[in-house]
Structures are given as structure tokens and as C-alpha cells.
Amino acid sequence: MADLTNTETIRPGWFSTLANPTTFMRLSGKVLPWLTIATLLLFAVGLTGAFLAPPDYQQGETVRIMFIHVPSAWLAMMCYTIIAISSAGYLIWRHPLADVSAKAAAPIGATFTLLALVTGSLWGKPMWGAYWVWDARLTSVLILFFLYLGLIALRQAIDEPGRAGRAAAILALIGAVNIPIIKYSVNWWNTLHQPASVIRADGPTIHSSLLWPLLVMAIAFTLLFVVLHLKAMRAEILRRRCDALIARHVRGDAARAGTEEAANA
């Protein structure tokens, strides 16, 4: 079960049922416990594999950083793509759930991007002799991190939720140009960062003892993202309902105060 809000339309009816916040709350509430269990199991398997894998003949034990670093970097990009798709959906159909999805994904994406940057620099120190080098991939991921911060900051700067959502959506779409640049930066500019080694036309160049834990970890991280994203979306929907209730309450109070005043006068 993938992310419910962002999958392509299979049948129009099916999609619009899912896009109903109440249906979404009910379904995501049912699915979440199972997803959480699956995530924990996959992490257990993946981490065991990561620790049991033989050290790399060139990189030694430091190769194990890869099992955190590569999935984080992959999620950093996937998360922005989801924000961009949600934003487009929000701008086109004005559906509140797309905005909830974009808003909930931004801090998660920023965290994964930071994780990728930090683990990358810890890996870079023994490999390249420096924590940070101005390599094309590193620089473009750093810019991605700034884009996430900009999205969060813009949303916080606008009080009115509908306007904040649309402004953030426009910015997310402008920034989406960066995603292909990041993806292909290692292929376009041959700098320090190693080129793609898992998904290649001529098959993976990475040894199978390292490959299977990496793939398990990638799936585990993706599931973790789905769990966090659904959780954050649920929290955001509940927050909006609370805000609506409070607003109604305040309006009710004001109306009652108005009638009392009128009665007293």
C-alpha cells in the first residue's frame, strides 16, 4: 500500500473517494499499524544485513554509512517530488488534502536531506579527506535543503492557511526544476561523488552481499517515510478540524454575546 494521496488516478471514482478527508482518516487509521510493523521488521532485517555484510575491499567498515546515506538521499529527492506533485494537485484542483500532503511532507523531507548531508560528510572525511567538498552532487543537495527551509519559512510567514498553502505550492513548483539537476549532477559533472551504481542499464556494479541489505534498507526507509507522512497528514487534518471547531465556537460566543446585548438594550 503506497502513499494514498499521491498515487496516479486509477479510476476517477476511486481517487475522489480517497481524497475525501474522512475516508482518508478512516483508511489511514486502519493501514498505519500494519505499515508501522512492516517498517520495523524491514529495518530489523536491513540493519542485520548491513552489520553482517563484509567490509568493502576499498572502503573498509565505512561502507556501512551507505546503508543510511543512500536511502536518505533517495528520500530527500522523492519527498520533494511528492511535494511538487501535491502542489500541482492543490493549485489545479484546490483540493485541501493535496495541501495537507505538501505541508506534512516538507519537514520530513528537510530532515532526510539533512541526514543525507550529515552522513555524506561523515563518509567524505575518510574517503576524500574533508568533511565537505564543493562537488556538484553535494552542492545541489545543499540547495535542496535550502529549498525545503524556504518552503517551510514561506508557509510560516503567511497567516491565512489557504493563501499560505497556495504560495508554498507555487514556490515548490518553481524549485522542482532542481530535482532533475540533482539526479543527473553526478552523471553530467564527473566530480568526486561516485556515479550511480545500483540502477544502471548494464546492471548493478555493487557486490550482491552489499546490494541486498541496501535494497531492504531503501524499502524500509520508504515505508518509514510513508508512515511519517500519513501520521503528519492525520495530525494536520486533526489540527485543521480543531481550528474549525475553535473558530465556530468563537463565532458562536460572539453571536450569543450579540443577542444578550440586544436583549439587555
Binding site: 493549485l91 552542492t139 545541489s140 540547495i143 535550502f146 529549498l147 527551509l149 524556504g150 519559512a153 514561506l154 510567514a157 503567511i158 493563501r163 497556495r166 504560495a167 507555487i170 514556490l171 513548483l173 518553481i174 524549485g175 526544476v177 532542481n178 539537476i181
Partner: protein
């Protein structure tokens, strides 16, 4: 088209008669360029090597500084509302404003760049190349900045937020602009083509984002 040109002429005339916006950006640019050697030390060999980078960065900062006022004044005196209900679609309003920003801010900055390069002991034969990268790249920058200005229009702390939002988007321009002068064989022709592509893409796409943002802020 006629309305587009009328709006552009109006903005250019206003900028020329006022002069303050052009003056501020120029002053900021020259001060930024001259304050960097104070921080780095007066080593002329070092300065001439990093001059393109210094000039490009100072240029970007000056452009950001002056873009904040792009829609703000028109919003404050109500002419933006008048424009919005006029015959010109918001995409063209945004395009005209961005083009006006390029003509009134970037072009004067490009004109004084040889002088700034002289201050930094830049090699004379590199100056035309630098001017070419600036002329090609900054057009796109004005359009990206225009979209950013429309997004932050009317926000509290909008002027502070704006650089945060658009400076990351300037990074590809900066990379190719400075990369063109790296001296590697073929670097100049390759980089300037990429810069041109970036600029054309921005000119084509950014007015739509800016128009969305403008309609949002005028609601």
C-alpha cells in the same frame, strides 16, 4: 502588446525620473565589490583570479536587494489593483515588471562592471567574456526574482524572506556564469549556452508562477 509596451515604458520612465532605485543598487554593488578586498587582503594576484566570482555574487545580491520594490510600490498606491482589472493578463504584467527590473537594475550594473573589474585587477581580455555571461544570465535572474517578489508581496518580513527563497534558485546561474570564466578549454562556449538555456526557460516559465502569486496576493 500595446498595453505591455505602455506598462514597460511607464516603469522605465518612473525609474529614470526617480533614480533612487537605480542609484541604490549601483551603490550597493560598488560597495560590496570594494568591501570584499578589505576582508580578503590586498593580494592583487588573488583578487584578479577570483574577480569573476566576486562580481557575480555582488551582482546577485544587488539584484535581490532591488527586486523587493518591484511590485510593492504599485501595490501600495493601488495601481497594481488597477492593472489587474485592466486588459493586460497578469502573466504579461509580471513579465513587464521583470523586464523593467532587468533594464533598470541589471543593465546599469553591467555597465559599471568593467570599472569594478578594474578595481579587482581583473585581466582585460576576460572583461568582455564576463560582460557576456552577465548579459545572458541576469535576464533569467530578473525573471526568477520577479516570481519571488510576487510571492512575498505584502507579507510581513517579506523583504527578509525574499532572499532566502530566491538565492538558492540563483545557484545554477552563478555556477555556469563563473564556470564560463574558469579558463578550461571550451568552458566559455558551453557555459554560456547553458546560461542562455536557463535564462530562456526562466523568461518563458516564471511569468506564469509570478502571475499565480500576484492573483493570490491581490485577493
Amino acid at each position: 502588446m500595446k498595453a505591455f509596451l505602455a506598462l514597460l515604458t511607464r516603469d522605465l520612465t518612473l525609474a529614470l525620473r526617480q533614480g533612487s532605485a537605480i542609484g541604490t543598487a549601483l551603490g550597493f554593488y560598488l560597495i560590496a565589490v570594494s568591501i570584499i578586498p578589505l576582508g580578503l587582503g590586498p593580494d592583487l594576484a588573488l583578487l584578479s583570479r577570483i574577480a569573476p566570482g566576486i562580481l557575480w555574487i555582488s551582482f546577485l545580491l544587488s539584484a535581490v536587494l532591488s527586486v523587493d520594490a518591484l511590485f510593492q510600490e504599485d501595490r501600495d498606491d493601488g495601481s497594481l489593483d488597477a492593472l489587474a482589472i485592466g486588459p493586460l493578463p497578469s502573466e504579461l504584467i509580471a513579465a513587464s515588471k521583470s523586464l523593467a527590473h532587468w533594464l533598470t537594475t541589471c543593465v546599469p550594473l553591467i555597465v559599471v562592471t568593467p570599472l569594478a573589474g578594474l578595481l579587482l585587477n581583473m585581466e582585460l581580455d576576460a572583461v568582455p567574456k564576463l560582460l557576456a555571461t552577465l548579459a545572458v544570465g541576469t535576464l533569467g535572474i530578473s525573471f526568477v526574482a520577479g516570481a519571488g517578489a510576487a510571492l512575498t508581496l505584502g507579507l510581513r518580513r517579506g523583504a527578509l524572506l525574499l532572499p532566502l527563497l530566491i538565492l538558492p534558485l540563483f545557484a545554477p546561474f552563478l555556477i555556469f556564469g563563473v564556470g564560463a570564466l574558469s579558463g578550461a578549454p571550451g568552458a566559455f562556449s558551453q557555459s554560456i549556452l547553458l546560461l542562455g538555456a536557463l535564462s530562456l526557460f526562466s523568461v518563458a516559465a516564471m511569468p506564469f508562477a509570478a502571475a499565480l502569486a500576484l492573483r493570490l496576493s491581490l485577493e
